[in-house]
């Protein structure tokens, strides 16, 4: 019979494809079992979408001051009230979200790229390269982070770009250790040996073979990192070193509302940016947690 011979490759294809799909679908299914993570994903999508669509949604120019309408309570004209210069808080919140989320995401991408590359190189090549890179990681990890941040940001004059750069340059060490660890265990596995045997280049082995298998924990760490960067920006704002006005960020909006008089007479002003940070960071953490569980083969959800 000729039929099976013809069908055989198809079958194999179908099988492997099916297997992959099922692995992914297991992960997805596990993730969707985690209610908090799913809710967080939905809320975060809304937040991100509205930040992206800010110019279409916002009723006012976020930087337009209306000095005769300072610290107005929420109402039909200003949905979430106004700030101390009479700017519409709702509009500023959306535009501020763009800045805060950009800082979080771009810094995360930077940190993860650096960390993955260095971790992969160290883990794959081992030996002196590994020793050198890991000493570098030791130095950066031992740097008291906030002190270095304060000094660096003060030196470089705070702007969004500088903040992103500094965050990325200081935060890749965790990822690199993770990736290195994964590489150390994975590089002697059969599939890597197989790839080597068929003469695949190091680059292809690193990026094509090992890395995808090592990405799980990195994705989790990256998700959590975005939230942490958003928080870090707000802390630096509080210390006078965050995103500079008039550009809004959640951090500087929250900082400018830190006055006893505003807390008493216009409590909505500190509340909304505070909630925006809280909810967003919360979402990232829940999603990260959900991903961790979903990606961890040991955990079987009920």
């Amino acid at each position: 019979m000729a039929k099976p011979e013809i069908n055989l490759p198809n079958d194999i294809n179908a099988q492997t494809l099916g297997k992959r799909r099922s692995l992914l679908s297991i992960i997805v299914a596990k993730f969707f079992q985690n209610k908090l993570a799913v809710i967080a994903l939905v809320v975060l999508s809304i937040i991100i979408t509205s930040a992206i669509l800010a110019p279409l949604i916002t009723p006012h120019d976020p930087n337009l001051q209306n000095l005769r309408h300072r610290l107005e309570p929420p109402g039909p004209e200003f949905w979430l009230g106004t700030d101390h210069l009479g700017r519409d808080l709702f509009s500023r919140l959306l535009y501020g979200g763009r800045v805060s989320l950009t800082v979080g995401f771009v810094a995360m991408i930077g940190a993860v790229s650096i960390g993955t590359t260095i971790g992969a190189i160290a883990g794959f090549f081992g030996g002196k390269v590994d020793a050198f890179l890991m000493r570098l990681v030791d130095v950066i990890i031992s740097f008291p982070n906030i002190f270095l941040l304060i000094t660096l940001v003060a030196v470089l004059e705070p702007s969004m770009e500088i903040l992103i750069l500094v965050f990325a340059l200081l935060s890749w060490t965790g990822t690199s250790r993770l990736v290195r660890g994964e590489f150390l265990t994975l590089k002697n596995r059969e599939f890597v040996l197989a790839a080597r045997t068929i003469g695949m280049s190091n680059t292809r082995i690193i990026f094509g073979q090992i890395l995808p298998s090592a990405m799980g924990p990195v994705i989790v760490a990256a998700t959590l990192a975005v939230g942490n960067f958003i928080l870090a920006e707000s802390t630096l704002s509080f210390l006078g070193l965050g995103i500079q006005p008039p550009r809004a960020s959640w951090g500087n909006m929250l900082t400018y509302s830190q006055s006893v008089t505003i807390f008493r007479n216009a409590v909505w002003y500190p509340t909304f940016p505070g909630l925006a940070i809280l909810i967003t960071v919360l979402c990232f953490n829940f999603i990260g947690d959900g991903l961790r569980d979903a990606l961890d083969p040991r955990i079987v959800e009920k």
Partner: protein
């Protein structure tokens, strides 16, 4: 952190003083705030007053709010305001300033005798003035103190203040004579520097005095109404009444400066009663007004805020452009909103509190149409994006202010909008204080426009800020230069007659107001919040803790 910075950065200190003695000034009377004891506040004969039940009474303590640790307690070396506040209670000088900003005798018995040529000044000092350790102050102590900053080994930052002092000698135990190398209008104010005890510091080499911590930090001894009792780093500084103070024992037993991290903390501490006296920023005034146990005293502070245009930048070299910029900024609106109405719009580089404040100066009120006209005259036409253009260059610049000062930050943001309306693109930028100063000071002059304030000295001499030769020295960082103003700057300090000098100064102020190298913003009010049991308080426009020996707590 940045709150400390805010304190320092509030105003650049301008301590170029000059003579203001002799009356004839029309400074506004301080509104009496509450106390019946206030009337005798400026008299000096209360040592044996029998007080009535309602009057001042002895005893009690007061906690004063502060935002930073002092550096040291030696006025010849310290340069920060927290130290100065405390030094003011620990030491006396020969002269001191009163609420009308005149120099009046303190340790000196009377005004000094001045020689015909203005070079020799003779002061007679009180007898029986005791240091905190019981030793009597004599002319030798005065000679010792004034010898410090003119000594060749002196390491402190005040050498230039004393540059015209040639020698000082004791004629007898209670008479001191100063000889100047040239007439110095600022001398009477320089003569108010503190007297330190020779019997304690006399043996310390002048080169080591700056680091002589046994005195400077641990046990300063002066003749002031309060003596040093303790300093808990970062927490508080405590002073106790000097029983033998030469004007009589202060009413209060003890005063303590409590150091809080920021303005919010101070306001809350005042509310909870942990602190009795704070400096209230206009932004928190509304809250402090709701405290039942607190009175607020407000007065015009001796300073003004401004936007400085860098005259090295071609954008700002045309006087019509600068006038237009002022026309385009609604300062009244800024005063009424950002400052909650607690300020007066300024038009000249002098304070209305000063005798030298001119009767009239050119004023440039808010008038965007006039601004557009002037800009058009100067050749600026709207470009395709609405921003003014001239010879292909867009009218676009950055306005810099120092980080931590919220008022200036907000003014920058408002400016962006107001100037945007007449077609000028402004980018507000805030910079951390150290970097800010580095940028604006010579030799960099690297800025377009800045928002800043001047804390004025007692003397209205415009030299330090406006004279051409000061461009290289630092204070004239906008590089203003005008021949007539230079002449006046040179001449005025040698004119003894105040009216004559005022007339000359008015001319300079009018020229400057006409040329608008600054857009003068406002004269802010200063607010002090204090417990309503505090009596004897008098609001001095420059000295927050003024004659604390007259303060008392009534039950």
């Amino acid at each position: 952190m940045k709150k400390l910075l805010l304190l320092m950065a509030m105003v650049l200190f301008l301590s170029i003083f000059a003579v203001a003695c002799g009356g004839g000034d029309d400074a506004p009377e301080e509104p009496a705030d509450e106390s019946p004891g206030e009337t005798d506040a400026t008299e000096e004969d209360e040592d044996e007053d029998e007080e009535e039940a309602t009057g001042p009474q002895y005893g009690g303590e007061l906690v004063l709010g502060s935002m930073s640790d002092p550096v040291m307690f030696n006025p010849y070396y310290s340069a920060d305001s927290a130290s100065a506040d405390i030094e003011g209670q620990l030491f006396n000088g020969l002269m001191t300033s009163n609420t009308e900003l005149e120099m009046v005798p303190d340790l000196a018995v009377d005004y000094p005798e001045v020689s015909e040529d203005g070079l020799v000044w003779t002061y007679r000092i009180h007898e029986g003035v005791l240091f905190h350790d019981g030793v009597e102050l004599t002319a030798e102590d005065v000679v010792f103190s004034f010898s410090i900053p003119i000594h060749e080994d002196y390491t402190g930052p005040r050498a230039s203040t004393f540059q015209y002092l040639e020698s000082v000698e004791a004629l007898d135990d209670y008479t001191v004579q100063f000889t100047l190398s040239q007439p110095d209008a600022a001398w009477p104010i320089t003569a108010s520097y503190s007297i330190l005890p020779k019997h304690i510091l006399g043996d310390v080499p002048i080169a080591d005095l700056e680091d002589y911590n046994e005195f400077n930090l641990e046990n300063p001894i002066g003749t002031g109404p309060f003596k040093f009792a303790g300093w808990d780093a970062g927490v508080s500084v405590t002073l106790e009444a000097h029983e033998d103070y030469f004007e009589g024992r202060p009413y209060l037993d003890k005063i303590t400066w409590r150091i809080a991290a920021d303005q919010n903390a101070l306001v809350l501490l005042l509310e909870t009663g942990d602190v009795d006296f704070i400096n209230v920023p206009s932004s928190e005034l509304a809250t402090v007004e709701t405290f039942d146990h607190v009175n607020i005293s407000s007065t015009l502070a001796l300073n003004y805020s401004f936007i400085g245009w860098n005259l090295q930048n071609p954008l700002f070299q045309d006087v019509r452009v600068r006038q237009a910029l002022t026309h385009a900024i609604d300062r009244q609106e800024i005063v009424e909103t950002i400052l909650e109405g607690e300020a007066e719009v300024a038009h000249a580089p002098a304070s209305p509190l000063s005798w030298a404040y001119p009767d009239s100066v050119p004023e440039f009120h808010f008038d965007p149409d006039r601004a557009r006209e002037l800009l058009a005259e100067a050749g600026w036409e709207p470009g395709s994006d609405g921003i003014l253009e001239k010879d292909g260059e867009r009218f676009s610049f950055t306005v810099l202010s120092n980080d931590g000062n919220t008022t200036r930050r907000d003014i920058g943001i408002i400016m962006q909008q107001m100037l945007g309306d007449v077609g000028i693109e402004v980018t507000p930028e805030q910079m951390e204080w150290g970097a800010f100063l580095d940028k604006i000071n010579p030799p960099n002059h690297d800025f377009d426009a800045i928002i800043l304030g001047w804390n004025l000295g007692l003397d209205p001499n415009p030299e330090a800020i406006w004279a051409t030769w000061e461009i290289e020295q630092g204070l004239n960082f906008i590089s203003y230069s005008n021949e007539r103003v230079d002449e006046i700057a040179k001449e005025n300090s040698s004119i003894v007659d105040q009216d004559e000098r005022a007339e000359l100064l008015a001319e300079a102020f009018q020229i400057i107001a006409e040329e608008q190298p600054y857009t003068f913003l406002f004269y802010p009010n200063q607010h002090l919040g204090m417990v309503n049991t505090l009596g004897g308080f008098v609001h001095h426009p420059r000295v927050t803790f003024y004659r604390v020996n007259d303060w008392y707590i009534s039950e």
